[in-house]
Symmetry: C2
Subunit: 196 residues, 2 copies
């Protein structure tokens, strides 16, 4: 038996499908082979190792997240764009748990592929912030702050930190985003006063 129509792309697609389905950013070669209807070692005709699959899946996840962000800020600027970004992140995390977690562990990937992916994800935020009259370094700081708020909020929620509380996680998230915007305005304020 040979040539069963399985290609590297098909393997990757199935891996991504399984990550989406399970909500977990891990890949089991055994299960993957089973789903494809082949024996485990046959996978190695298409990929080098499980890590290579993770890198490829991360690449895909980063691109998806990037697109979701770009769609969210389309035609918007300023605070509206920021709220749009925050909402898009939250939706992405909820609808694509596994892919989202993959973007969180992106820095564990091999050095080479990492910077581009991180940059691809950060870019939409940087773009929106670049219109706030901050200097380049400040933009970097505030981008990190926003990502920190958004990211960890979601991962804490996902991880179950809020599960045992009656207080709405959704509302907490809105408080967090408003907090960011308000802090950002304060910084802007300070900048403009500095020039007087």
């Amino acid at each position: 038996m040979a040539q069963r129509g399985i290609t590297r792309d098909a393997v990757l697609a199935k891996a991504i499908e399984m990550i989406e389905r399970s909500g977990s950013p891990t890949i089991s070669m055994r299960e993957l082979a089973e789903e494809l209807g082949i024996r485990t070692p046959s996978l190695y005709n298409h990929v080098k190792c499980v890590n290579e699959l993770l890198v490829e899946a991360s690449r895909y996840a980063a691109e998806e997240l990037r697109q979701a962000q770009l769609a969210a800020i389309d035609g918007k600027t300023g605070d509206e764009a920021l709220f749009g970004l925050a909402a898009a992140y939250r939706r992405f995390a909820q609808e694509h748990k596994g892919l989202y977690k993959l973007t969180l562990s992106l820095p564990t990937l091999p050095e080479a592929s990492q910077p581009q992916l991180a940059a691809a994800i950060a870019e939409p935020i940087l773009f929106v912030l670049s219109r706030y009259g901050l200097d380049e370094e400040q933009v970097m700081h505030w981008q990190r702050v926003l990502r920190a708020i958004i990211h960890d909020f979601l991962s804490q929620e996902e991880a179950g930190f809020f599960r045992h509380s009656p207080v709405s996680a959704e509302v907490s998230y809105q408080v967090a985003v408003r907090c960011f915007v308000s802090g950002l305005h304060a910084e802007q304020e300070e900048n403009s006063h500095a020039g007087e």
Copy 2:
């Protein structure tokens, strides 16, 4: 050969020591046994499974983080206490990488032990925030926001997200904390206006 002076506590202590040393919140039964000078299966005379060890180590980590927080706010109130908390978190994360990561994955523990540990960690923050004249639900939201900022900032930094940038992570962190405080004050402001 028997009775080599190894107790359950000794096993746990060594496990914690190894987590501290490696900076990784994982335990290998094989390595653990090797360090203790016994064979792997002998560990099972003292603990039920590797997960039980992780639970115990998490308990310890949560308590340590709690103590670090309490020490940081001792004699302080208001913004000063908040800045103290943030600094303490950062220091703890840097000096106890492994334990800190353990507190991040706390929710993966069995349901039973989780709420107390999460509460123990959150309590000092709740205490400080309780003096800001917010209602109970607001306190909960703002506690989550602060934890989100602090936590993810540190885990992103640890994970290497900032490694390829010349912009200081330390300064970004300060921007984040100031952002929180400024946002908190804005909320306070709104509350007092609402009563007019």
